[in-house]
């Protein structure tokens, strides 16, 4: 569970998040929408303590993030806006292993996690491939595998679809849907809502650092007529 409790944040003196309160349950599939600069990335980065609130508290499974960064970062996996931004190693296998290694797991367990993470994104057996030689869609998948290998209970993805063609986009989306069905919480920030909404349990839309739509409160969507979202399904599979 990720909780934002009256969180405000600014860069230098520019306010970016303005009194955000939210609770994201385990296994929930949340879509985060909003214009450029509305604060999506900033919100995502609070979920695992890459940024710290100026006021208010972010809690992961009840513990304030600042009190247990390691815990928060192993519970909340993060995929950055540009997959290339997040690779730390030259080959697929060593990059996906980076996180588990930092958890201090035994080598056999690390190998097992790398294997299953790669299987989850349809990249089995590609451990020794050079990341630079992969296509854009393949890179996105490896980025997701890197987060999955931490065995997180939440996955936060910041516009993971940029530069992907439709089949790649759909395969990543399928993967996310099935992860969410298996109990992983998914927070997906994106501009391009076309085929995402049907998968979502909930839509959160931001404007100028505030949450202006929260799709779980009935009727909320009407408040923002100009947002190109369809009303999400009311079903919430993990309740």
């Amino acid at each position: 569970m990720i909780e934002f409790d009256a969180v405000s944040f600014g860069f230098e003196d520019v306010p970016v998040l303005d009194d955000v309160s939210l609770t994201i349950d385990d296994g929930e599939f949340v879509v985060l929408a909003g214009a450029n600069g509305s604060g999506k990335t900033t919100l995502c980065r609070h979920c695992n303590g890459l940024l710290e609130p100026d006021s208010g508290t972010v809690r992961v499974d009840g513990t304030p993030v600042r009190d247990d960064l390691v815990g928060a970062r192993s519970t909340v996996g993060m995929v950055f806006q540009h997959p290339r931004d997040q690779f730390v190693a030259a080959t697929v296998g060593s990059d996906v292993a980076f996180g588990p290694e930092n958890l201090g797991l035994p080598r056999a367990e690390i190998d097992r996690r790398v294997e299953s993470a790669l299987a989850a994104v349809n990249m089995t057996g590609r451990e020794t491939d050079l990341i630079d030689a992969l296509s854009g869609g393949e890179q996105s998948r490896v980025a997701i595998a890197g987060a999955l290998a931490m065995d997180p209970s939440h996955l936060v993805l910041d516009e993971p679809f940029t530069g992907l063609d439709d089949p790649a986009r759909r395969s990543v989306l399928d993967r996310l849907a099935s992860l969410s069905n298996d109990g992983t919480g998914v927070v997906l920030a994106t501009h391009d809502l076309r085929d995402v909404i049907p998968l979502a349990d909930r839509v959160i839309a931001m404007r100028d650092g505030r949450v202006v739509v929260d799709g779980t409160s009935p009727g909320a969507l009407d408040e923002l007529a100009d947002l190109p979202v369809r009303v999400p399904r009311s079903r919430r599979p993990h309740e």
Binding site: L50, R73, S74, G77, Q86, V88, F98, G99, N102, M150
Partner: protein, 234 residues
Amino acid sequence: MLTYEPDETIAHRLDPRSKLAVQMGFAATALAHTSPRALLALSVVAALLLAAARVPLWRTLVAYRFALVILAIAPIVAAVTLGAPWIDVGDGLASARASYRVLLVLLVSAAYVRSTPVRHSRAAIQRTIPGKPGQLLGIGVALVFRFLPVLRADLRTIQDAMAARLGTERSAVERASTIGVLGLERAFDRADRLSLALQARCFAWNPTLPALSFGRLDYPAIAIAIVLALSAFL
């Protein structure tokens, strides 16, 4: 941070080359003199030059704070002697005066920075250094200004990416070398994309140089530069 700010001061209206000449003249004479009287005269000149560019003194001192620490330590280092009497006040004072003139030169250079946009600096380079080297140096300087914030952001992103997967648990040496390799890799990556963009825009050896005008104000500025430089020999 100290950067160019649009304004209408005398310094803003000068040609960058005359401003650079004044800078060099001032540095030459400052480095040649440390007598208290000379320092007083230099302070007056520095104050005038700063006023001519309307340099905010306090912000400039803050921007140079690291250099100031070094300048403040120097007299202490100089005063300490190996063996009795351990502290040599004369050495310390001499060094303090040396530090003070360095401070003046740094402050005066803020006048150049505040009053000169990058494109003027680039034009000055391209008009002063002839031929291809000047051409490349000019565009190169513009590119350094352009990509400095981009690469800073890259370095931050690399650190964030490592932190998100608990790279913070690794040793400092390992972290530093990863940041080094990745930083360099990304910089070269960007360079390769930039080089395509430069070619697409006909990057040429003989472009129209950015405009510069040597105006009426520049003659007195050059005269001041020469007087300052000559006073180094007094």
